[in-house]
Subunit: 166 residues, 2 copies
């Protein structure tokens, strides 16, 4: 818990919080508000237009970037969700014929998940429409504000980066 003198000028014995702390809380609540609203809109569109869901789209997107496929654990790390979560979503994508599970040479514990041809084709089409949805939802965001937003958010996510083990 950050208690620098410079950042916390609360009176002796008081338990108020500093101005900067409150500003950060407001910033967080605003991030939460926007991401909930946008996610809700996109979920609805995914459901109505594609008969699909955001989590499945996210998995397809990750696999589209890695055409040779990814391990379950790589997917889970890339999407920042639990292992067990990925298992269920991949199960459904397999049932839909959009991805396949392939065995890994020399490691029978692991498996590689890869887009099928249908999955690749479906995702390519959906990705364009998805981008247009996002652009419309963010149509008030100018180019310079987009850059500023990305820069600021990066400073936050870098701070909270998982520490690497060397």
């Amino acid at each position: 818990m950050n208690m620098n003198k410079s950042e916390n000028a609360t009176g002796p014995g008081g338990n108020e919080t500093s101005d900067i702390s409150k500003a950060r809380l407001r910033a967080w609540l605003q991030i939460l508000k926007v991401s909930r609203k946008i996610e809700g809109e996109l979920r609805e569109k995914m459901r109505v237009e594609f008969g699909s869901t955001l989590p499945r789209f996210d998995v397809l997107a990750a696999l589209y970037r890695e055409r040779d496929g990814m391990r379950m654990s790589e997917l889970s790390k890339s999407l920042m969700v639990s292992n067990g979560n990925v298992t269920g979503i991949v199960d459904r994508l397999v049932a839909e014929g959009l991805v396949v599970r392939l065995p890994v040479e020399n490691d029978r514990r692991a498996s590689i998940v890869r887009l099928t041809e249908a999955g690749e084709k479906d995702f390519a089409e959906r990705a364009l429409v998805h981008e247009s949805w996002v652009s419309d939802l963010f149509s008030d965001l100018s180019s310079s504000d987009a850059d500023a937003l990305i820069r600021i958010l990066r400073t936050i996510s870098h701070h909270n980066e998982a520490p690497h083990h060397d």
Copy 2:
């Protein structure tokens, strides 16, 4: 789907997307990344330190702002989640003794949810700790960047405000 000439200078017949559209998509992905990461950290802390969850904290926070209590539908609108969702979370908070459901005069369909004394006390304590967690997670966020972030996010959420019915 926004297809202004000025914003989309893709060649004839091409289905590429504009630069501004891509910038907005990147911005959205970055928002998503940060909010997932922060939410994960806060969920973990809530679980370990308070033996509770974020959705419950959110309900308590809304009720703490409205000491006279809120209807289920008001809670649901305020938190931007479905009615059925609120039912379940309030059920658990009732079981924990932190909130109560009260009947509404002249409307037997509705009910008011209110913090109990224990709920008020618990939330007041937790809110301070919660704010310090957020401040720490956002410790790289300067005051001016916090202001810029809030301003930019507000333009986005205002655009996507639910249109009112007059």
